[in-house]
Symmetry: C2
DNA sequence: ACGGTTGCGTGCGACAGCGCACAATGGGCT
DNA sequence: AGCCCATTGTGCGCTGTCGCACGCAACCGT
């Protein structure tokens, strides 16, 4: 059973703040492919993931895209609400199914403007997000597809209860902003080395330490900076408590 | 003579707030190459540029780098101070000489925590910065050096009083995270087309409209979103009032 | 006026990633 | 059990960018 404490940001809040929010936090299912917000459109809620993973994508006019950041139970989706912009030119898509608590924009702004712990925490998280985006930007320029795939796998399994990722190479290629064939090749190498195994729509990380050495520095830089800004509170686990219930049929859902 | 109003963020503040800050705003010279903050080191001031341009760079372990955003008289350098992180893994370097007002970190935080217009404005600016970084990240991945050079030139002259940029192709290549030869080639094409002219250390934009058509969409996306978030206040000019005093000797300075 | 430094031009070969086309196979679905 | 479609594998040729190694020329300082 997930609780609000499964989200690390919520878990880091003082009891008083959390209590105030608690009644308005609504647990929602997050099917793969669901778009939480679209470039330029107004946001109605912020989302605190517990077991899902959300990708922040930036899409170009010709449809090409790149993932700028990943949000799991370590963060919140929709920072532009309290930053005052209400929308962003980015898109947020559910990348791995699961659940999240959502909170209406109005209440977020209200709570944020009190200036207390909520504000501090949200701003610190936003800075962590900034760092992730910055590192991703440089990574896009300077690192190989092989390295970036490693980085992406690490970022993803950090936010999952198990080392198995349910996704296709095509979707990964959209995230990384590269060709699907490039991912096929990179994944093939990793499998040959025994670092991962995969079958249609599933990737399992077998040798995580090895994966870390093969990844570019970007993974570690982001992880360390995130921990500096948002130390893992003792009352929340680092990964979701519960394994995600396996419901194979719904993996295919796109909305 | 520059005034605090030459910086568009300061100009957008209500009179009361501005008055409170005014006594502590110190006008400082910004020589080219000066590092305002370094990856991971604590910041002591925020800077409100009036006539200088500051580049936000992210540097990798091997020394490779990319520019994530440009800040001129439209913004502020050092957002991590009020975001609560105090430092970032990025670097801020003066890219074009000029002046800026600086404000001690302590006073910024104090003013920010009042939660008034200063907070709102700083947060909105931070979101604009986020957008610029996001767009740059995707641009790094998907657009050619030619297009990116156009984007960079536009971003730069928007923050200068004239269409002449004092810099070397080598420095531009560092900003874009590409080879110097790549910039030479791209600049050569633009010169052949009559869009720019250049001589050692100087680039002049001759045909701005043409440059815009040759640039990728990224320039325009960032400009529009920035204007949405931070409308140009009528009391401040869009470009600095004063021409930068030409002091050729100091262009070579690196600190 | 003149030398030296610094910035620009150019010409390689190498190669990663692209775009396309198509074969092959896994695994739901009926 | 078998079909069929989504997913993965593979093989091209092509292009943009890299890395390196120069030559050249503009400009600065003396």
């Amino acid at each position: 059973m997930p609780t609000v404490l499964t989200n690390r940001l919520l878990a880091a809040l003082p009891a008083a703040e959390l209590k105030r929010l608690h009644a308005n936090l609504e647990l929602v299912q997050m099917p793969v492919g669901e778009v939480l917000y679209e470039s330029g459109r107004s946001l109605n809620h912020v989302f605190f993931p517990t077991s899902c993973i959300v990708s922040l994508l930036h899409v170009l006019e010709n449809g090409a895209s790149s993932e700028l950041a990943v949000v799991g139970n370590d963060g919140v989706v929709g920072v532009s609400i309290f930053m005052g912009g209400l929308s962003t030119p980015s898109r947020a898509v559910v990348q791995s199914l699961g659940e999240a608590y959502r909170l209406p924009a109005r209440l977020v702004m209200e709570e944020f403007s009190r200036g207390g712990a909520v504000q501090h925490l949200m701003l610190r998280y936003t800075q962590a997000l900034l760092t992730q985006m910055a590192q991703t930007a440089v990574c896009n320029r300077h690192h190989s597809v092989d390295q970036q795939l490693c980085r992406w796998l690490l970022l993803t399994i950090d936010r999952l209860p198990t080392a198995e990722i349910i996704t296709t190479q095509e979707l990964i290629s959209n995230m990384l902003g590269v060709r699907r064939e490039g991912v096929t090749e990179a994944a093939g190498k990793l499998q040959k080395l025994g670092v991962i195994t995969y079958r249609r729509g599933h990737i399992e990380v077998l040798d995580r330490p090895r994966l870390e050495t093969m990844s570019c520095e970007c993974y570690d830089v982001v992880r360390r900076e995130t921990e500096r800004l948002l130390p893992v509170p003792s009352k929340a686990p680092k990964a979701p408590r519960m394994a995600i219930p396996v419901r194979p049929r719904s993996y295919e859902q796109r909305s």
